[in-house]
Symmetry: C2
Subunit: 162 residues, 2 copies
């Protein structure tokens, strides 16, 4: 997938998230794209992201679903408003709740695919369902209730970590 990802549009002052902030040098820096009505993220875990040997750490899978969800939520809201992600005002979502069902162990076999589907856009809230695939097999499925970030957070630049 080429072109700009959802996360490439996050305003600089809220682009430090460990999961999806392009400005967090230590983080996962996931990249999410539309593919028709679904959203897709591809991510390759490190060897040390292990649960029991040979399988991917569940906390990483939860993190991927979480950040895939907030990214999808923002993209869905721009779509619902009929405008591009490069238009103002910027939208950024945080997680209200996260649920993950671990369907089966996720083998450490290279790149994972996370596919998302927008279940609901209502007011400032977007609900996203996301499924993780390893070698084409669904191994975890989750739901993220994402909430549009209050303006007050966008102004808290005094808390900026260095």
């Amino acid at each position: 997938m080429t072109g700009k990802a959802f996360q490439d549009y996050y305003p600089d002052d809220v682009a430090h998230c460990y999961g999806c902030g392009r400005l967090n040098a230590h983080g996962y820096r996931i990249k999410t794209f539309w593919q028709g009505d679904e959203t897709v993220t591809r991510f390759r875990p490190e060897a040390f992201h292990t649960a029991i040997p040979g399988y991917v750490y569940g906390g990483l899978l939860a993190s991927l679903i979480d950040c895939h969800g907030t990214g999808t939520a923002a993209a869905a809201m721009y779509r619902a408003e009929g405008r591009g992600m490069d238009s103002e005002p910027s939208l950024r979502f945080v997680t209200g709740s996260l649920h993950v069902d671990f369907l089966k162990p996720t083998p450490q076999c290279g790149e994972l695919e996370i596919r998302g589907r927008v279940k609901e856009v209502k007011g400032r809230k977007v609900i996203v369902e996301a499924t993780i695939y390893a070698e084409g097999v669904a191994t975890a499925r989750g739901e993220v209730v994402a909430v549009q970030m209050p303006e007050s957070f966008l102004r808290r630049q005094d808390n900026h970590p260095t």
Copy 2:
């Protein structure tokens, strides 16, 4: 808290979890202890474990609840069986499902406290509720449905990452 943590009793071949494995040099290596009928983990996030600037990354909070939950599940099962965590056969739990409600943003203010409570022990399943506190304030609450690891996994040493 001193003495051996729950995670110190995990058999070597299943002690590589990124969240709670004492043998994962890259991981969080959380340590969980009984405190009466509750379980307690203390963890200090790194500065780069950020969500929006000034606040802790939600995926890390989900990971802490997850691994606190599986550790508590094992300890609860040993207690239910009336035996110590150093007795055989070893018990190790994996996560069936994880739910996290983010009650409010978690400030990056030093050490977090995760407190767990066993809701149910039934067959091979243990349900644990866990709450994360930052400066004494509950900021996230979750539930882990933990399932006793099948013996077949304990034998999969051929998948051991190096």
